[in-house]
């Protein structure tokens, strides 16, 4: 994933696992198509994280190949054919593991950084 507003290459490589986690989290709620996933990530992060489509689709393929997602063609809310991704049982386990790992690291980093400076 690269995050447009902080579009550093180092970041995108660094954060590859993050995009996977966000995708898994998004489809955990309900089956979703690619564009829907991108929009959901963007909306829920208050437009802080903007998904690069050049990373999104390869990531979807990768997750599907690993058996975390399954995909099938369905009908979208505007009555068109779209490819819907669903979280598999294996994907759900992966999500739980990744999520707890992420939280652990985030907590650790937060401890080092100390309390956020109060808004000026």
């Amino acid at each position: 994933m690269s995050i447009r507003k902080r579009a550093d290459r180092e970041y995108s490589a660094h954060l590859q696992g993050t995009l996977d986690l966000l995708i898994l989290r998004t489809v955990a709620l309900r089956p979703e198509h690619g564009q829907g996933i991108a929009r959901a990530i963007q909306d829920q992060s208050d437009n802080v994280l903007i998904v690069d489509h050049g990373s999104l689709y390869p990531a979807l393929q990768r997750l599907e190949a690993k058996g975390f997602l399954s995909a099938e063609w369905g009908t979208s809310e505007n009555n068109r054919k779209a490819r819907y991704y669903t979280l598999t049982r294996k994907g759900r386990q992966e999500l739980i593991r990744e999520e707890s790992e992420w939280r652990r690291i985030a907590t650790a980093i937060a401890r080092i950084l100390g309390p956020a400076p109060s808004k000026v």
Partner: protein, 876 residues
């Protein structure tokens, strides 16, 4: 294969289509959202595309993940396969050995076949070079021998050949090189001979029109073979300008051929010769030609046929003949084609057996792994995934076996080349080449599909719950799997029977040939080829000198201790020098019409010839010292001729004459001798007239000596005697045994190689039977233990298992014998005095295979018998 490729392509197309649709949907959906947010349609489209960052780039990125996924999966499969195989290394080693053996032999034989039969001759545009032959309309056969007059007409009238040439193959001739006398093989050729083959000289120049002698003169120039120049002058350049004397004619060497050039046959020296147009009935040339570019063989054939048919109407001598074109390659390999295709089929059968064997092993293994596979399937591995995993295992196995096989092949090629007849065309060039390498890879791949897919499909059709319910190793073998494995064993046995029976027939036929009563004793006879040069311009005096020379040499040889008998013979037969039969006449009988007269072979020999070869004299006497040019001409005939020409009367005292010339004197028959199969031990003796070479008849003799000594030491003695008598007479030695062996070289080669393959096939099918039964015993351990516990004796268990094995063997035997009968009928042309229905062979086959099968079933049966019910049942 193309179906498989199509399948991949179809899958790939579908993936691409899906991706396109998905990406298109994404962009359009975004446009709709943006429009909803209040943007104009064009503006929304612009913004969506900008955000998306270009469909082609995204598509490319996705494709990259596909490839890396595929590679990942492959690596995983290979890794897993290697781990699995090394866990059961016994199986891997066994299967690998069987397969590499099969691949090794196939590649070796294919290399031989490919070099000898399939690779083009080493000449530029070799495909356009054809042998131009005489086609005899009465026999329907084509012969390489053509008449010079015919050839000149063909050359003048055709429009299809770029170049044409004739050669006249001389026989081994005494040749003086420096101060040594050797045998060399000269060929007399017309001007365009080398041009037909597109040859250039490796030193000096090749022959041209100017070299051709005219007006009956002898040639003065010659071109020699590269290796001959190397042997006698130490190099190509060194030979140029040297003079050699071939059968009394001095020739100056003007050129040396390229190293790879060798035509016709084993020619050492090419001398220019004017094509004679004198005799249409004399066929002593061989013609070759290079077709013009773009002229198909069929058209050339049709045109030459028309020319030949016209000549047939024009000349009486041509009444029964016309022209045929045969591609030179086909002509050169014609005689060995049968042998090589027989070998190729045999090796194919071995390969099939090996594959059935591997399939069986893998199948047994897959069944043993039923639970593992079922578990993986239950955990979500798709059927495709399981198949792929099993295929990966066989691929790794096949790949490793392919490499080992290639190594083995190079060893086997060495062996086959060593066993093969020396005159097998281009056998010296046989290498494991690129073709063979590709062939090995194709074989590996094919075996992967053959033996990998059967168990894979089978294993993946498992009933999951069924397999899981049954405990691991105790899983009863499904009926389908047992039937499939039994079918494989039956196939193996049947194929082995075919191969064994074929080998048996060939061996029996070969033995019959070897032990054929030849009518003479061939051991302990030394054969010395010599030739005394007689000049045409001094014929009468030279013939007398020659006769004295040989009388003298033979007398000195007979005086050597250990020499029991010695004689001269002008013709050594045994297929080396084909000998045309001649018309003969008997005094007091009508002469008959030309072409309808009886014929006999005509051999000039000295006294003691029959004593040397131990051919019995049935009536009359041998030739004697006082049968000279001045005395009454005498002849001896063999039994066959006596039976044909003098049925019911004594030939001794009758007078006979041969048809060489009407002035030939009547010869009085003084003796009758037993038949001897000189030329071809597989054919009955022809009628023969013997004449005394001391009476000035026949060619220069060679020498035969029967000895109680070692043949090699006698050879050096004889060489010294000859050299003392006349140093210009060359000599070559051979034993009669060697000479006889040479005539059997193709049958022997076939028999040895097929015998080897049949042995391999038997071992392989025994292994197959063993592995299946051993596996079944393993599967039935519990059942057998229960039986024992309920009172079955060890013998009952053995009977049960052996019975099961032998039932399969019996079915295989019946099917195999049916196949063998069919094959034997096809092979009947290769058999000598053995009927394709030879009972001994088939009984032998059944005995050999039956014994092997019995051993293979007995081992697992004995193991089954030793099962201890208490131990097995307590383990449960």
């Amino acid at each position: 294969m193309s179906k498989l490729v199509n399948l991949f392509r179809w899958r790939r197309d579908r993936l691409e289509r899906d991706l396109d649709r998905e990406l298109r949907y994404h962009v359009e959906r975004r446009i709709e959202d943006l429009i909803k947010d209040g943007l104009s349609a064009p503006e929304a489209r612009r913004q969506a595309n900008l955000e998306f960052g270009g469909v082609p780039q995204v598509r490319e990125a996705v494709r990259d993940t596909w490839i890396s996924q595929w590679l990942d999966a492959l690596m995983r499969d290979v890794h897993y396969a290697i781990r699995n195989l090394s866990k059961s290394w016994g199986f891997a080693l066994g299967a690998g050995a069987v397969l590499s053996l099969a691949i090794g032999t196939s590649v070796a034989i294919f290399s031989v076949v490919s070099t000898v039969l399939l690779q083009p001759l080493p000449y530029p545009d070799a495909g356009r070079i054809v042998s131009i032959e005489t086609f005899w309309t009465n026999t329907g056969l084509s012969s390489q021998d053509v008449s010079g007059a015919d050839f000149l007409d063909w050359q003048a009238q055709n429009t299809v050949f770029e170049k044409m040439a004739v050669s006249y193959a001389g026989k081994d001739s005494p040749t003086i090189v420096g101060d040594r006398a050797v045998f060399a093989n000269p060929g007399y050729v017309s001007a365009d001979f080398f041009a037909v083959f597109g040859q250039t000289a490796s030193a000096g120049r090749l022959l041209t029109e100017k070299d051709i002698p005219v007006g009956g003169a002898m040639p003065t120039t010659a071109v020699v073979a590269y290796y001959w120049a190397l042997t006698h002058f130490g190099g190509a350049e060194a030979a140029i300008g040297k003079t050699i004397t071939v059968y009394g004619t001095p020739l100056q060497i003007v050129g040396v051929t390229a190293p790879e050039f060798r035509y016709p046959g084993t020619t050492d020296i090419w001398a220019p010769w004017l094509t004679s147009n004198r005799n249409r009935g004399l066929h002593d040339y061989q013609a070759v030609g290079k077709l013009k570019l773009g002229v198909p063989l069929t058209r050339a054939h049709a045109e030459m046929r028309t020319i030949g048919d016209n000549l047939a109407r024009q000349y009486a001598e041509n009444r029964l003949k016309t022209v045929a074109l045969v591609p030179l390659q086909e002509r050169l390999t014609g005689s060995v084609r049968v042998t090589l295709w027989v070998l190729m089929s045999a090796v194919g059968v071995v390969w099939l057996i090996a594959c059935a064997n591997i399939a069986n092993l893998l199948l047994a293994r897959a069944a043993g792994r039923t639970r593992e596979i079922a578990l993986r399937a239950a955990l979500g591995a798709g059927r495709g995934r399981v198949i792929r995993q099993l295929l990966a295992e066989s691929s790794v196995l096949a790949g490793a076996a392919g490499l080992a096989g290639l190594l083995l092949a190079s060893i086997i090629v060495g062996g086959v080349v060593a066993l093969s007849p020396a005159d097998l065309p281009r056998i010296g060039d046989v290498r494991i080449d690129m073709t063979a390498l590709l062939f090995a890879l194709a074989l590996s791949l094919m075996s992967t599909v053959v033996f990998g897919l059967v168990p894979a499909l089978h294993a993946s059709r498992l009933d999951l719950s069924d397999a899981l319910k049954q405990g691991g190793s105790k899983a009863t073998v499904s009926r389908v799997s047992t039937r499939l494995r039994s079918a494989l064993v039956v196939t193996e046995v049947a194929l082995s029977v075919i191969l064994l029976a074929t080998a048996g027939l060939l061996v029996r036929s070969f033995q019959a040939l070897q032990h054929e009563d030849l009518g003479f004793t061939k051991d302990r006879v030394l054969v010395a080829y010599t030739e005394y040069v007689v000049r045409e311009d001094n014929l009468v005096a030279d013939l007398q000198i020659r006769s004295n020379f040989f009388t003298d040499v033979l007398d000195r040889l007979r005086a050597v201790p250990g020499v029991n008998a010695a004689a001269g013979v002008a013709y050594l037969g045994m297929g080396r020098e084909p000998r045309a039969a001649q018309d003969y006449f008997i005094e007091g009988r009508p002469e008959g019409q030309p072409g309808e007269r009886p014929q006999a072979e005509f051999h000039a020999i000295t006294a003691d010839y029959f004593k040397t070869l131990e051919i019995p004299i049935l009536a009359g006497r041998d030739f004697a010292r006082n049968d000279t040019r001045e005395s009454q001409p005498v002849a001896i005939i063999n039994e066959t001729l006596a039976r044909i020409a003098f049925p019911g009367e004594s030939p001794v005292g009758q007078r006979i004459r041969t048809g060489t010339s009407s002035r030939a004197p009547w010869m009085e028959i003084v003796g009758l001798v037993g038949d001897a199969r000189w030329q071809d031990p597989s054919r009955p003796a022809p009628p023969v007239i013997f004449a005394a070479s001391t009476q000035g008849i026949g060619n220069s003799p060679s020498i035969l000596a029967r000895t109680s000594l070692d043949e090699a030491s006698l050879a050096s003695t004889l060489r010294r005697i000859l050299n003392d008598a006349d140093p210009t007479v060359p000599v070559k030695f051979e034993t009669m045994e060697e000479m006889f062996d040479f005539t059997l070289r193709y049958p022997r080669f076939r028999t040895q190689v097929i015998g080897l393959f049949a042995g391999m096939a038997t071992v392989l099918s025994a292994v197959g039977i063993f592995s299946v039964l051993a596996f079944l015993v393993g599967q039935r351990t519990r059942e057998l233990a229960v039986r024992r516990a309920l009172g079955a004796r060890a013998a009952d268990v053995i009977r049960l298992i052996v019975g099961q094995g032998l039932r399969l063997v019996a079915i295989g035997l019946v099917l195999g014998l049916a196949g063998a009968f069919t094959v034997a009928r096809l092979l009947s042309g290769l058999l000598y005095e053995i009927s394709p229905w030879d009972a001994v062979t088939y009984l032998g086959t059944i005995a050999v295979l039956g014994t092997a099968a019995l051993l293979a079933t007995l081992l697992p049966a004995l193991r089954a018998a030793t099962i201890s019910p208490t131990v097995v049942l307590r383990q449960e």
